[in-house]
Symmetry: C2
Subunit: 474 residues, 2 copies
């Protein structure tokens, strides 16, 4: 494809995307394809000769768009917000068009330095001190894996350089609440800890981790010869936005020498609002934080911010050049040194992800981002209010941010019948195409999450969704 052919097709694609975004509201939110439908729309074997570019637009319209549940739809209230602002999409286009690859600082100084600039912008926006340094990872799953490997190596005094976890010493233990994200367990298992050594800590009535239960677990483990290694505290749990008490947890980690990783993947974006920051009070005492600008902040996926207080340790753990044998300074904290971001994560090659964060903040401005997040908080409060007032409906968890957990409880319907009713009306809403909600289990019972935060959601979209919910139980 020549630059001129690309120019023509690119213009057509930009128009197609602008139209797609402008008309998104009119489309069903949920994909309606049956398994295999999409695959059947494409040839089973690759074409030998060049095929018409026009077919790409046809396939987008007929096979691909109908085969997507639209996270950017104004009535998308499923999972978590991750619509992606158009301003951010522009930056990702630039990244793809430039084709820069951050293997080393020299391979793309701009990639490295704009990442330093923009991750520091986000740090300032969420009110963290300048003790933190940031790096962009693909997802929170990867960031949490990196955090647990860093914890493992700090606790074991760099066993990675010797026998790793296979030295037969005191087993290292990871702690998280039952409300922590599935990626925490997955990261611990990938890092070799084993399920026996990943302990689930009890939660209180608000679904936040019980610090006393954590302390008790660590003492028990210590008594049986195990070593507390890391705690993952959740700031805004996936199911119901519960906030673990970071200050109290930091006290306990300090006492036992355990690494404290804060998973603020979704809710971290809310910290652009000063009024939300008490929710993660104590966060300055953590060792690492993950916060996904590709969730509520408006960056297009993928853009996960991993923040650390001790980049030297991170580089010692993750470097492929044995940095532990090198003079300090080469890791980017010494005067005049450059940052080698490949040594801050798993992947060696890196996309120019800072561009999408830069264009988001540059084009929209922080004030508008704050206003959008306040708008979502307001939507959530409004919905929680009307649900609470409606006969037969109940808000089943506190609403600290933008997720409203609801249940419709018809008289006399309980237990498994209530679960079936809950899942059925949620499915009906989703199948209607009007809105998309996610059913989840809280306190052993199914309920439905209504998670605000798509870029273009207005009050009327929340109202329409509330009507669809009421229709679905009628």
């Amino acid at each position: 494809m020549t630059p001129e052919e690309f120019r023509r097709a690119g213009h057509e694609l930009v128009d197609w995307i602008a139209d797609f975004r402008a008309t998104l509201e009119e489309r069903p939110v949920m994909a309606r394809t049956a398994p295999g439908d999409v695959a059947r729309a494409f040839p089973k074997t690759p074409p030998e000769s060049p095929q018409p570019v026009g077919e790409i637009f046809r396939a987008l319209d007929t096979a691909i768009v109908p085969g997507i549940t639209h996270f950017g739809h104004p009535r998308f209230f499923g999972f978590f917000p991750t619509g992606g602002s158009l301003s951010s999409i522009l930056g990702d286009f630039a990244s793809t068009g430039l084709g820069a690859l951050g293997l080393t600082w020299q391979a793309a100084p701009a990639l490295t330095e704009l990442e330093e600039v923009t991750t520091d912008w986000v740090r300032q926006m969420v009110g963290l001190s300048d003790a933190w340094r940031g790096v962009i990872q693909d997802t929170a799953s990867t960031a949490t894996l990196v955090a647990l490997v860093c914890a493992r190596e700090r606790t074991s005094n760099f066993a990675v350089t010797r026998e790793g976890l296979q030295g037969g010493g005191s087993p290292l233990v990871v702690y998280a609440s039952g409300q922590s994200h599935s990626s925490v367990l997955k990261a611990a298992l990938v890092a070799g800890f084993g399920r026996t050594y990943v302990r689930e800590i009890a939660t209180d009535a608000s679904h936040a981790m019980h610090p006393q239960a954590l302390d008790r677990a660590m003492r028990e483990d210590h008594a049986r010869g195990w070593t507390p290694c890391a705690v993952v505290a959740t700031s805004g749990s996936t199911t119901c936005t519960a906030f673990d008490p970071i200050g109290a947890i930091a006290d306990i980690c300090g006492e036992h020498g355990a690494w404290l990783h804060v998973d603020a993947a979704m809710a971290g974006s809310a910290m652009v609002l000063e009024e939300c920051r008490p929710l993660w009070a104590g966060v300055e005492r953590a060792d690492s934080i993950v916060l996904n600008p590709h969730k509520w902040l408006g960056a297009i996926f993928d853009c996960s911010l991993y923040l650390v207080r001790d980049p030297e340790h991170l580089v010692r753990v993750m470097s492929t050049n044995p940095a532990y044998l090198q003079p300090s300074g080469s890791s980017g904290t010494g005067a005049g040194a450059v940052t080698t971001y490949r040594d801050w994560g798993i992947a060696l090659g890196r996309r120019f992800r800072a561009l999408k964060l830069w264009t988001l903040i540059h084009i929209d401005g922080v004030e508008a981002i704050r206003a959008r997040i306040r708008r979502d908080l307001d939507h959530a409060r409004w919905l929680a209010g009307v649900v609470a007032d409606a006969p037969g409906w109940r808000v089943v968890a506190p609403v600290p941010l933008q997720t409203v957990c609801v249940r419709h409880e018809p008289p006399g319907v309980e237990g498994e019948a209530l679960d079936a009713h809950t899942r059925a009306w949620c499915d009906r809403v989703n199948a209607s195409g009007i809105a998309y909600l996610t059913a989840a289990v809280l306190d052993g019972r199914w309920m439905v999450r209504v998670a605000m935060g798509a870029p273009t959601t207005e009050r009327r979209h929340v109202e329409e969704t509330w009507r669809a919910m009421q229709d679905a139980v009628a």
Copy 2:
């Protein structure tokens, strides 16, 4: 940013990218910025209010483009080919514009099914049997990490469900040659093996792994109570494109029950040519393969293909829903089941990466991809020929594919003086802006790699580079 504002800025950006690509040849290949130059071009604090979109184009021109070493430049011969065809860039734009997120099949059936279609296209293109199933990862680093975790769990009979690597049993050992990529060691360390249990196997004169040395190492380890777990065989090493003998290695793995992972990250693309396939003879007997379409095949970064023979095992290991407690079929191999790609890797959320693979193959066609790779092989043969014929110059390694390893050896210059000379002339070529080459160590001595494969490299670019190399030693 509204869809109409996006339309305007998007058109401008497409034009900017088309112009950038069309004029890339006239720019210096290597970034010429000093540390801190790029960072200083941006404000230290994020803007409160919206900033002009026009500033983005100014910053691209003045700070970002000069701050990038251009992997897509026709005279880029560094590291490995990864320029990214414009046809592929179009697909990545579509992915970003759609904002689909592959959390589950239902979240984006099109994302899952087009990934199944296109990874199968690549499988067919490189001549692998239909026993293989593919998934797109970000990079080979991640794919190799997944492979080693799968190996760990197969050898340990799912110790992950119990004590992981902390059970104090027979230590598991990973084997790779000294020419294997740094990501192999990194993956093993992240997975908890420990450096003691990552054994470097000797290579022969062609820098390929010695099967006898591997066999001996495994027997030694077995005798001292260790357990051979995984071998990473390299098909096309980073330094000099050496090919480990996969058939002989597979025999040894079979005997010791070790997992065989084939790292064909760069060279795998060459297997679109039937005449290259003898280089990885025996590959059908591997357990897993990584092959990066974002390298030589022309897909824009990131697009790494991980191929497995036993997807059920992969899902059992990587699933966050404990799939080992679920009926088979739910992992996507049973009739009517759907594939849950989140359980095929580390990250939970997934970009719609199949789009860039689809548009690459659809728009260019397989024939053109084969012709481009043949062209690069031809360039390499030509350069190797003229270098070998030039007085004072030497080709220091076999040239099975597109990388030519050269040294200029002035009479009487040896040892460290020769190394200094080698690095100096390589630096001079790079500083000239004419071409970009990578210096590396082979057999204990520095040499310079000239790696073909940027999308638009023609013979004249290789000729100009050869002249620049001769000028640099004059």
